[in-house]
């Protein structure tokens, strides 16, 4: 039919051209890491070493610590080096006992690695799963609530920073109380509930609402929502990235604290 067949090189370059527009599926696990002990089915608890169990317990007790803080705290009374700690965490991830989360904390440090105990992890240490602190919200939301409340506790002028603080039967992600005002902090992973949350906080009597957004796209969307508010409401709302929320709250509280002390003197 045709004089000569198409050469391998032409086929290869044509394949490369077509493949360049296709998405490739990358490995989820390293090949060969799954193995099964026929004698004991399911999660093999006896296969967990003491160090692994101790690390699981450390994660259970301090669920929102970064992995480096876990290493510093040490397991079984021994501080772990970054290499040793990293290998231990990887092993636990491969055994599906914990899940890793990479979170950008902002500032110069950039990303931080955190770990979350999975159901198998809880089983392995014989503990009941801890309810999340964010009333059904996801793990990252819970982390930010914890992180922000912890960092605001010691700020001068702040009396209390309560996770899921209750005000007039309304729950606020982090309720910050100073001597003369109540400040609401809402953490938004998506823009879907921002409008409801802001209105709820203002109607509950908060003088200021800080909205911490997960990323820039959420920030832009919420800014658009806030622009539609009347001017007197806009003044009471601050929208920023979640990484910057602590500094924004500090700025606001610092200003009012200074004004108050000036008045007193």
């Amino acid at each position: 039919m045709f004089n000569n067949e198409i050469a391998d090189e032409i086929i290869k370059s044509n394949n490369i051209r077509i493949l360049s527009s296709m998405q490739l599926i990358e490995p989820h696990l390293v090949l060969g890491e799954i193995s099964k002990d026929c004698k004991t089915e399911g999660t093999n608890e006896s296969a967990l070493s003491e160090t692994e169990k101790a690390m699981l317990m450390e994660i259970y007790n301090h669920p929102y610590r970064t992995v480096t803080r876990h290493y510093d705290n040490g397991v079984a009374g021994e501080k772990l080096s970054a290499g040793k700690g990293g290998r231990l965490i990887n092993k636990l991830v491969q055994k599906h006992l914990i899940a890793e989360h990479a979170i950008n904390l902002g500032g110069r440090g950039g990303g931080a690695k955190l770990v979350e105990l999975k159901d198998k992890g809880y089983k392995a240490i014989g503990m009941k799963p801890k309810p999340g602190i964010g009333r059904g919200a996801d793990w990252e939301h819970g982390f930010w609530q914890y992180h922000i409340s912890e960092r605001l506790k010691d700020v001068q002028g702040i009396k209390k920073a309560t996770i899921e603080g209750r005000l007039l039967d309304k729950f606020i992600d982090v309720l910050v109380e100073t001597e003369n005002e109540k400040i609401a902090i809402e953490i938004e992973m998506t823009p879907n509930h921002a409008l409801v949350n802001i209105e709820k906080d203002l109607s509950a009597g908060c003088s200021k609402v800080f909205v911490g957004c997960k990323d820039k796209s959420v920030l832009e969307n919420i800014n658009r929502i806030v622009e539609s508010f009347p001017d007197e409401m806009k003044v009471a709302i601050v929208v920023c990235l979640v990484q910057k929320i602590v500094s924004e709250v500090k700025k606001h509280v610092g200003r009012t604290y200074e004004e108050k002390t000036e008045r007193n003197t």
Binding site: M1, F2, E5, I6, D8, I10, I11, K12, N14, N15, I16, I18, L19, M22, Q23, L24, I25, E26, P27, H28, L29, L31, G32, E33, I34, S35, K36, D37, C38, K39, H96
Partner: protein, 410 residues
């Protein structure tokens, strides 16, 4: 009266009814049996033609316009284009080596591509690459690791437990294993999916290899069989089944030529079966409107009759698929040199059957039976089919077998 009936049968047998004068005379004679003049006139008109046909004519009736279709592949004796339509699956092409089966297959697939159908071709010949001259958008998979895929993953929308069953069925059929190993593999693949959503055949091999049983147990025997077949498979297809791979749903939307000539016969059976089954369930689950044309050049390995005679396994999956892929808009075009060794499924489910010249009497007997050719003259003629000459039979639209000629492609 006998004379008139003989006239009538000759007019229709040799397609002389198309001549208006013949028909007018015939109608007149039917009304006036006694008009000898008209009978003689008709005899004089058709006599020479009947004599010529008797001496030099072909024993098959000349096909009319009913044989036309969208995918054209031949011409009748009268020059009418012969073709089948998208909704008339499947096609069996039988002929001895060098008679032009592959060329015909390429003519069919090229037209399907030009009419927006998606083409998959399983071939042992490199010359089918020339389809790239019709469209550059064809991937050629020659299993050297350039194009990787993972047949262990179920089609989107299909439950993994169901797919695992299909995979195990095809695996044991292709590699000649038995129920014990199948159930052993089923358990391990299910376990693998419970640990990892995207397992590969490498993961399965490593898992099976890591198991520890007493050497006297039957499980140990099943494990040995599974490791043996899996390691053989990975030795040839290891590069193809490794990461990072293309999702098969992406391949399903493209023209692909699978060059299976470098694989062992068991792997060829496995690859064709698993990919066709995958495509079938994928199209069923997404209710896709595109037509797929799947060409299998030299299909004796895949549709081997002996697969249907394994009492421990029942009907092979491919046989079941042929009867059901129509629902998924998949047309299968099969070429064979030894049609009498093909399983019954392709003979029973092919809408279009094309017979080129065959050298073996068993093959000719099988094809004439399959095509319903009973007339001894026609059967005799099947033994002396010429170059590019073929007997074609459609199942529904034009049930008579007829002669067709494949035009020469220059």
């Amino acid at each position: 009266m006998k004379e008139i009936l003989a006239l009538l049968s000759e007019v229709f047998k040799y397609d002389l009814e198309k001549d208006r004068k013949n028909m007018a005379l015939l109608k007149y004679i039917m009304r006036n049996f006694t008009d000898k003049d008209k009978i003689d006139m008709l005899n004089r008109r058709i006599g020479p033609k009947v004599l010529y046909e008797k001496l030099f004519g072909k024993p098959f009736r000349k096909a009319n316009e009913m044989v036309q279709g969208m995918i054209r592949f031949a011409l009748t004796e009268l020059g009418t284009a012969v073709g089948f339509n998208f909704d008339e699956p499947h096609c069996l092409i039988a002929g001895q080596t060098g008679c032009g089966k592959t060329v015909l297959l390429m003519i069919i697939l090229a037209q399907a591509m030009l009419k927006d159908a998606i083409v998959w071709l399983f071939t042992k010949a490199k010359d089918t690459r020339n389809l790239l001259r019709v469209s550059k958008e064809i991937l050629v998979v020659n299993f050297d690791g350039q194009i990787k895929f993972n047949p262990l993953l179920p089609p989107p929308g299909v439950d993994f437990r169901f797919w695992v069953n299909c995979f195990a069925d095809i695996f044991i059929q292709a590699f000649g294993l038995y129920d014990g190993t199948k159930n052993f593999l089923l358990e391990e693949i299910n376990y693998l999916f419970s640990r990892n959503n995207v397992p590969t055949i490498y993961d399965l091999y490593n898992l099976v290899k890591s198991l520890k049983y007493s050497i006297y147990s039957r499980f140990s025997r099943y494990q040995e069989s599974a490791i043996n077949r899996l390691s053989g498979m990975l030795a040839s297809l290891g590069e193809t089944f490794s990461y990072p791979f293309i999702a098969l749903e992406d391949l399903a939307e493209r023209h692909v030529i699978f060059e299976i000539q470098g694989l062992t016969s068991e792997l060829q059976v496995f690859i064709v079966n698993i990919l066709m089954t995958w495509l079938f369930y994928y199209k069923l689950s997404i209710s896709c409107n595109d037509y797929h044309f799947v060409g299998i050049d030299d299909a004796n390995l895949v549709f081997d009759k002996s697969f249907e005679y394994r009492p421990d396994q029942g009907l092979p999956i491919i046989s079941h698929l042929l009867s059901t892929v129509r629902k998924s808009k998949i047309n299968v075009i099969v070429c064979s040199q030894i049609p009498h060794q093909l399983g019954a499924s392709i003979h029973s489910n092919a809408f279009t059957k094309i017979m080129f010249s065959l050298a073996n009497g068993d093959d000719i007997y099988c094809m004439t039976r399959s095509m319903g050719i009973r007339d001894p003259e026609q059967v005799q003629y099947c033994h002396k089919l010429g170059k590019r000459e073929a007997v074609v039979k459609f199942s529904g639209r034009y049930p008579e077998p007829f002669l067709a000629y494949i035009p020469e492609v220059r």
